[in-house]
């Protein structure tokens, strides 16, 4: 059983790392602010979410698992807010990077 959990962890964390990599590549390669924000939100939502999902089987207790999920939710909230604010300013200034 713990072998299956380990496999799940490895797959989920690797997938999360892949999304982080994709987000970073997008940040470096995309031409302007709005597209870069789009790339970063993929890293935030999917990348971190998959990593948290992968770490849940190894969390010490139910409370630690809930803490992990709360971390993900707060990061989502903060990331979404900042992306919207940056996007608003970027559009207003004619996407000066």
């Amino acid at each position: 059983m713990s072998f299956v959990l380990d496999i799940v962890t490895i797959i989920a964390v690797s997938a999360g790392a892949f999304f982080f990599l994709a987000g970073t590549v997008g940040l470096l390669r995309f031409p302007d602010t709005l597209t870069r924000l789009h790339a970063l939100t993929k890293a935030d939502n999917l990348g971190l979410g998959l990593m948290v999902l992968g770490l849940l089987p190894h969390a010490g207790s139910l409370r630690d698992g809930i803490k992990l999920i709360c971390v993900w939710l707060i990061v989502l909230l903060a990331g979404a807010t900042v992306s919207q604010l940056i996007g608003y300013v970027a559009r207003r200034e004619g996407s000066r990077p």
């Binding site: 707060i74 909230l77 903060a78 979404a80 807010t81 604010l85």
Partner: protein
């Protein structure tokens, strides 16, 4: 033993990861120094600070990791971004002042020398390392706190913590005294406005309750687990700054009596308990063993209020509006 075998003889996967972490940290540091414009440099610095808190976790110091992430890169980053935004108009004329090779070469030589000297002293640290951990463990029974760092901060080196609070207050008085005379006692910073239906106002309504609980929890749990009054106070200060920046509340006038009482609460409670240690116990800041934990908790609760208000006001800056406006 050659250097290569000394360096890589015991290479494990964990060590390889730590080398990678150190390399990424240094990339952030190089970016912070070498970036052309200030805002990217500040971004590099904040990234460097957050990665540095990972380094602290690897060094087995979770309390310091919390402090570095919260104050070292979080609040300092906020301060630097605010200053960079205000100084943006002066950047273009100052970019002309590019230092020539005459300054860069000796500076580079000096920096390399200092770094090499520090690196040599790292490699030459005595083995076995001298440590005070055994005496910290021996005396831990005096306060019945489980977290050794909190023990040191609040019991063994309580004098340092008391003086640190006073240093914070002195820095705040220094910041306030930079205001023009007509603004003395007024509100710091401009009045912030945000769309009440917008995202910032929404987050400033949703996040602070969570943040306050997390901040007080970090204080409460510092008795036995990693945490502390400074880390919790920083989170409270950050929530207050968020609410101020969203325009949901205005910064208080710095001459307000209630504000100044809050600022004094921490050091005064600390001082009173310390002096009562002198009167009823052995020495200044000596806690009687039976009451050590409640006294420390009382001090910490007063401290977290003062720390939150002081850190928030340090980021908000000197008064910029007249009192009574």
């Amino acid at each position: 033993m050659t250097f290569a075998s000394m360096a890589f003889g015991s290479m494990t996967f964990a060590l390889a990861l730590e080398i990678v972490l150190a390399a990424v940290v240094l990339t952030g540091a190089v970016w912070a120094i070498a970036a052309r414009e200030t805002l990217p440099a500040v971004a590099g610095f904040v990234a460097y600070g957050l990665l540095l808190s990972l380094v602290w976790v690897h060094l087995g110091a979770p309390d310091v990791a919390l402090t570095e992430a919260a104050i070292g890169s979080g609040l300092t980053g906020a301060l630097l971004v605010g200053a960079a935004a205000r100084l943006r108009l002066s950047e273009v004329p100052m970019a002309v002042e590019h230092p020539g090779v005459i300054l860069r070469m000796p500076a580079a030589v000096l920096s390399v020398t200092v770094a090499a000297a520090l690196a040599a002293s790292v490699l030459l640290l005595p083995d076995p390392a001298p440590t005070l951990a055994p005496s910290a463990a021996e005396n831990a029974a005096a306060t019945s706190l489980g977290n050794p760092v909190t023990n040191v901060l609040m019991a063994f080196r309580a004098m340092d913590t008391l003086l640190e609070k006073i240093v914070l207050l002195l820095a705040l008085i220094g910041v306030w005294s930079l205001a023009p005379d007509r603004f003395w006692g007024g509100r710091p910073g401009p009045r912030h406005y945000a769309d009440p239906q917008g995202v910032l106002a929404f987050v400033a309504r949703v996040l602070p309750p969570v943040g306050i609980i997390v901040g007080i929890y970090i204080l409460w749990t510092s008795a036995d687990h990693p945490g502390g009054a400074f880390q919790g106070g920083t989170i409270l200060a950050a929530m207050w700054l968020l609410v101020m920046m969203a325009g949901l509340t205005d910064a208080p006038p710095v001459g307000e009596r209630r504000l100044r009482l809050l600022l004094l609460a921490g050091p005064v409670v600390f001082l009173v308990i310390g002096l009562s240690g002198l009167a009823f116990g052995d020495a200044f800041l000596a806690y009687p063993m039976a009451y050590a934990k409640p006294l420390i908790l009382a001090i910490e609760f007063a401290m977290i209020l003062t720390i939150a208000v002081t850190l928030g006001l340090l980021v908000a800056g000197p008064p910029e509006r007249e009192p009574g406006s």
